[in-house]
Symmetry: C2
Subunit: 454 residues, 2 copies
Amino acid sequence: MWRPVPALSADLYELTMAAAYWMNGIHAGASFELFVRNIGENRNYLIAAGIERALRYLEEFHFEPEEIEFLRQHPAFRQVDSGFFDYLAALRFTGDVRAMAEGTPFFADEPILRVTAPVIQAQLFETALLSMVGFETAVASKAARVVEAAQGHPVSEFGSRHAHGTEAALYAARAAYLAGCNGTSNSEAGLAFGIPVTGTMAHSYIMTYSDELESFIDFSRVIGERTTLLLDTYDTMRALESILVAGLHPSAVRLDSGDRLTLSKQVRARLDQAGLHDVKIVVTGELNEWRVDELLRAGAPIDSFGVGTEIATAKDDPALSCVYKLVHIDLGAGPRFRAKLSAEKHTWPSCKQVYRFRDAQGRLDHDVLASVSEEIPGGEPLLRHVVSGGHLIEPPPALEDLRARCSAMRAELPDHLLRLEPDHSYRVEVTGKLKAMLDHLREAQGVARVASTG
Amino acid sequence: MWRPVPALSADLYELTMAAAYWMNGIHAGASFELFVRNIGENRNYLIAAGIERALRYLEEFHFEPEEIEFLRQHPAFRQVDSGFFDYLAALRFTGDVRAMAEGTPFFADEPILRVTAPVIQAQLFETALLSMVGFETAVASKAARVVEAAQGHPVSEFGSRHAHGTEAALYAARAAYLAGCNGTSNSEAGLAFGIPVTGTMAHSYIMTYSDELESFIDFSRVIGERTTLLLDTYDTMRALESILVAGLHPSAVRLDSGDRLTLSKQVRARLDQAGLHDVKIVVTGELNEWRVDELLRAGAPIDSFGVGTEIATAKDDPALSCVYKLVHIDLGAGPRFRAKLSAEKHTWPSCKQVYRFRDAQGRLDHDVLASVSEEIPGGEPLLRHVVSGGHLIEPPPALEDLRARCSAMRAELPDHLLRLEPDHSYRVEVTGKLKAMLDHLREAQGVARVASTG
């Protein structure tokens, strides 16, 4: 029930470069690493997500005949031999992947996924891998903040309607659940991933009726003990009063607009006065981590939150600075590690590993970014070998297990990173060897060495 | 080649409400309108998009057996009769749709699409319609600004890698093209929609080689006269010099980083000095409408732009305040028009039409939002009847035609809206009849009348 990804879901230049490699006989093994340049002003850490989707895409990668035909007809391939298209038609992923476990907190410059394969293959996947991993990571990272702000109160992801299309809605639900949300409103996510799917009722149901109470009675009769009644269509306290007078006993009531601090207090008091201590209060409507935090700090007696658009679009940072860069190629006489050298946005050369170091209390202390050719004792290596020769080494972990591990790993983050206020103080050390490799490449290419990275 | 949309791509409450309507025997005809509450600080107008996708979704809507089975097993439906699931299994869209033509500029509160159908159906589509129409509209509206800023220089949409998954990348490419971009990097969009697909080369191709010039030569030999060479991997001017010395004659060179005002001037001067007046300069890299405007105003000799993330994610406003609201239902003894009445976010009742009025020069002057029961002489009605009894009345217009009409309609916008600076002065008049209907509903529901809308 994962939605399929066409092979043509790629920037054209991945394919013209493939043609150029093929025509020039370049089939060397290459490694590309996917990482985030900058975690963004509004995040103190990121949560790796979208990895399972990426691995399934790689494992299932193939061109359909009409995709090949489209490329044959495209003018960019006018001078390309017909054999190239036969090559594409037979192409499957045969490489290896190292990746962080989904749900792992990570930081800028740390590779979360490395593809090692013949260069044509590894390059081809760039566009799709970036969009899949970047998007789910953006959503998971936002959702984790909302979950932290909710201090243990359940958060449901309700943002499908404002997601970037229905596929984005599905994977947003998955990423949000992975990062600690308790469920989603997205029904497809229930079928596809077994995520708990929850829902209440809309204003439109109530507006269908001339009489609000009649709509509550009709709805409750069908949905039964799981009913959540929506109070704010006309007048919140009046709606509550009519529910009490009619003797309805919903499982919860929902507040979707207005001053939800005051209203939640009034509703809680009235429910308690009526002896309905077990009726919960659900709050929704343009929430994010800051508003959730504000409500709870002010003592709002809210039991759970539905958070939509802000999670499903990662609204305050909808596009991570995710990149996928060549770091090594088995070709040429000079050094085989590679990096982008420009002063403005250089990358670290060679295949790398991230080592995580914890303090005596088990909280994260710092990470070390190292070349795989180095020994870094004492740290936990975060990238693991997950795909070999084009196939998953083990079945992917269950989403429930990933979610539980993500929760445990979030609990290891230092308190200053878990706060909502910006804090970019987490230390990621780059080894001297990586710095030396970068300098070596710069010298080889005659590019000026930049003091700040020297 | 449109990607399919599962029926379960819906918030669960659309389905629990369907069950409640069905169990209570409510099959009345209803009308829902899709509109944007607020066009946002960073937009002066919006461009309607995603309509064709929405209509195809409606026409093809059906539940798969495993979707029905999922719902049967879900605890929210425990008290729902088995007949409801048989009803869902046979459900197809049988209603009517009125919609604006894709590419039409529109404003807050103006319905761009109305669904009229039995209430269960019309309600069910809410989540998917909002995400499809809202997303493409967000992208088209952003792209139109970039196209305006580019003053006739071609703009390609290059944002697939940072789109919210690969489906979002595909429809972002379509929306951007509709709104005036000249092409996309997304190959699937070429196959699916016939959009011109363009591309250059990546830094990684160059980095594969030990020698930059060798990579240029190899690439040019394969791609031929359409080659665009990327200059900024190591040193922009040095790369250009090597190209000239080697006698290469690419169709264009690309600048992806650094001070692109200065670099474009230096590159243009050097190309002209070498007699290569026909070699164009393409600029990419973290561009948006403001940076494009700034570069061109400063006299940068740039021929075309590649704009990625900012268009494909509508980054500065990634989620429009799109809603889908019940406006009419054939039920009950009182008035049959409906509206949300809360002071904070009320809606306008009844099925509506948008009438557009132009000045003597043919530029947009103002719009009138009216009930369909009113006669508004002299204005152009924007909503047209496009689906009848569940089927498209005519085949959808060709994307090329929509794009040409969008361009013509953008040219009719007043200059003050076409500028990048915020301007929300366009007048949308609400008729006295709509205001009276809202007051009537408020009185019927005993909700306080709000002066500002009286």
